[in-house]
Amino acid sequence: MERTDPPERLDLLQGTLDMLVLQTLQWGPQHGYAIAQMIRVQSSEALQVETGSLYPALHRLQKQKFVKSEWRTSDANQRAKFYTLTAAGRKQLLRERGRWAQLVAAIGGVLDPGTAKG
């Protein structure tokens, strides 16, 4: 498939970024740059995470005790601040995923009534 146009950028729904960040951290501790990269790559470039949203989100999650952070040296020998999911964070992720599934189902029902009935 030829890539002529960059994929359409999508704006994240309010609150969705927190979920994505938590989801990303499920695979292990990561620093801010890597989180942004992973979201971008995994969404096939559709989701561009603005640093101006990412860092406030990380710090907010830390304040809510859903993640914790520590300075570590990365594989590439670069010191960076790594964020780790906490137990509370895991629970929060499950909750948010549940809500997300409900939301998707509800919106799907509206858009495509046949599917919702089945």
Partner: protein, 879 residues
Amino acid sequence: MKLLDRILRRDRDEDLAAEIQAHLAMAERDKVEGGDDPVTARFAARKEFGNVTLVTEATRRSWGGVWRERAADVAHDIRYAIRTLRRSPGYALIVIAVLSLGISANVVVFTLFKAIALTPIPNVAGSARLGVLVARTDAGRIMPLSLPDFRELRAQGRTLHDFAGTSMEAYSLGLGTHGERVFGEMVTGNYFQVLGIHARLGRTLQPSDDVVPGGHPVVVIADRLWQDTFASDPAIVGRTIRINAHPFTIVGVAEPGFQGSIVSLRIGLFVPVMMQPQLRGIDLLSAREMPLLWGLGRPLAGSSTEAELLSAHLDAGQPARAVRQRATVIPIWRSPYGAQTYMLPAILLLAVMGMLLMLIVCANVSNLVLVRAVGRRGELAARMALGASRPRILRLLFVESVVLAIPAAAIGVVLARALGPLMGDDTVASIAPVPVGMELSADWTVVAFAVLVACASAVVFGFFPALRTSRLDLGAVMKDDLSPRGGSRSRVRNVLVIAQVAVSLLLLVGAGLVLRSLEAARTANVGFDPRHVASASIDLTPNGYDAARGREFYQRLLEAIRRQPGVESAALTGVLPLTLVDSNSVQTDVEGYAPRRDEDMRFLFNRVSPGYFATLRIGLIAGRDFRRSDSVDTQPVAIVNETMARRFWRTPEGALGQRVHLEEGGRWRTVVGVVRDIKYARVTEDPRPALYRPFEQSYVAAMTLHVRSSDQERALLPRIRSAVQSLDPNLPILNAGMLADQIRIALTVFAMAADTLLAFGLIAVLLTALGTFGLVSYAAKQSTHEIGIRIAIGANRGALVRGFLGRGLRLGAVGAACGVAAAALVTSWLSTLLYGVTPIDGVSFAGASAIVLTTVALASLVPAWRASRTDPIAALRHR
């Protein structure tokens, strides 16, 4: 704790910065690995990341509450403001000095206002909200209530919450060897409970001291009297003193600071009202027609209407009362019992003047801030270009204003403490015939007021500069050089100078009017001649004279005095003229005259001996003076003044032989003489009816002796003293002095207002001069280059001076015109304080205009002349 907080925050800031740096480094490395050259990679990484500052700000916002961030910002602004101001200490000092001058003037006025209106009765919580229960006649005269009326109203309980009764009198306090005149309150037993005043020693008066007429010879003394007269004797309770010659036992000393309930008067004694018959010699306790007490207490909601309802009842019970009265509650600031009713208008005037002065101060400071803002346009434009929002910049400017205003508030309070005594307490106390005491200390309300004024002025003087800044055209400023040259449009500054000129003219006109009133009042024809008249008051009550012996004493005293060499005439009078207080008035019937239902038939009266009118040089228009033969045994007679004669009998001659009846009993009195009007209580009063009775036919024990002498004034007083003491060595002489000095109290309010207004006016002119000087200097400095060129090509230096002078004078003329117009509009409000001048007084207006214009001319001339001395070479090279 705060420090820890700050350290933690600093750590977090550094942590965040490192985090972002790491992000950038990793992004850069990825790009290098992807094949970019290092420089491109660095820029690409930065571009991808976005605005580091904005990200930092956004992240920091997620840390804590918004208020915390704001507080940190403001703290930062304050630190920054202090740092910048420290770089221009001259500017900061001038601004603070000018501001503190204005603030101190306002603080002084506020302190006076507080003493009279906010805390009228020291030590009583919420005393400003107290209500005063009085009787009001249909003619609007306010009078105390009789004790029976008072008791009825209290039993009804619908006017005030539990209220106390009080009245004020001067008592003679006998201390064994000598007498002292002390003001006292005659109070009901619940007085101290209602006011919430405790005893410092012993006890206060109790309701149980208010039961049997004549049965409670107890007294509570004020703390100050205890200290001054009784040397803080710790064993004072239980001691017996003589008040009006009757023995009273001191049962307690009231708490320190409490000086009674008469606003700004120092009361020394508190006696139960049940002792009234002993103190005054006549029993008025059960007389329904004798005004005795007024009530004092906390008003119920809507108590005024309740009292009006009650009045119907009062009248219903009193069909025979001569004048219809209603019981009514008035707020304490309108009560005639104390200094408030004649002080408040003056204080209000001062407050308005103070605010005007503050306006000038603000205009002046605004000017200074503007000049500085021009120099800072570069800095501010840079801030805005870097993304500072407009509100953020305005906040910075406002914080700078407040940083200047707060120290000014502090200095203002201190300055006011130093200035306060000059126009308050002591000045009045030194001339007043009564002990004046006002609570003029600075408490938190004063400090709060100063801070409020400071912050309000910061808003006002920061307004124009901020307005200008918010209109800043970034491009123009950034392209242009950052020097002040671009800011030469000075319309705002012109307006500020015009405003200053106008307001200071207004203040000076006010000062001029009051000064001219004072002068007019000083030289006014008061109807009598106080010069060369000595005056001494004597009270025979404490020394146990009865009426017959008293008459004889006074007769012998007059004879002894008249025998003295140099004495032209001597006489006795019941009241002194021009003491600001309306002396006794009496309900009067005029034979053959039917007063209208609401006509005020209470007239001033005085009791005088033969020779009184000659001694004071009050002209006799018709009939005769009193004679020695007008005694108790002969026909009762009266002398009326011209106004009264013309009101009831059309001509002075027509009054002779007519008869009047005075309320407090006795027979009809025949009018035997008509005298000219004098000013009875105030210089500014309108003519009003007055009556005189012969002293012999209306004896009281306390009289004042007037002696007219061609002698040296100083020699007169000791001779009067020795004449009195040769008759009775134990008799105290009260208030001995020259009449001219004693009546000066009548001018006190004028004098105080005039002094203060003049001070305000002069400060205003000074500030205006400073403002004009600043404006013209600035204009001259800005055109140094131009002036240099003009001088170099041969311009006339005189013409240059004229140019700048003209500029200053044009502004001055416009300001003066505005000021005259404004003054013409507002001076009519002053009319209650004016005497002998119209509100549109030519002399005041012309004088004020002359002073202001001369000041403006001088203030422009100096910088103009300096500009014309510019050395063209230096001016041109400087650029």
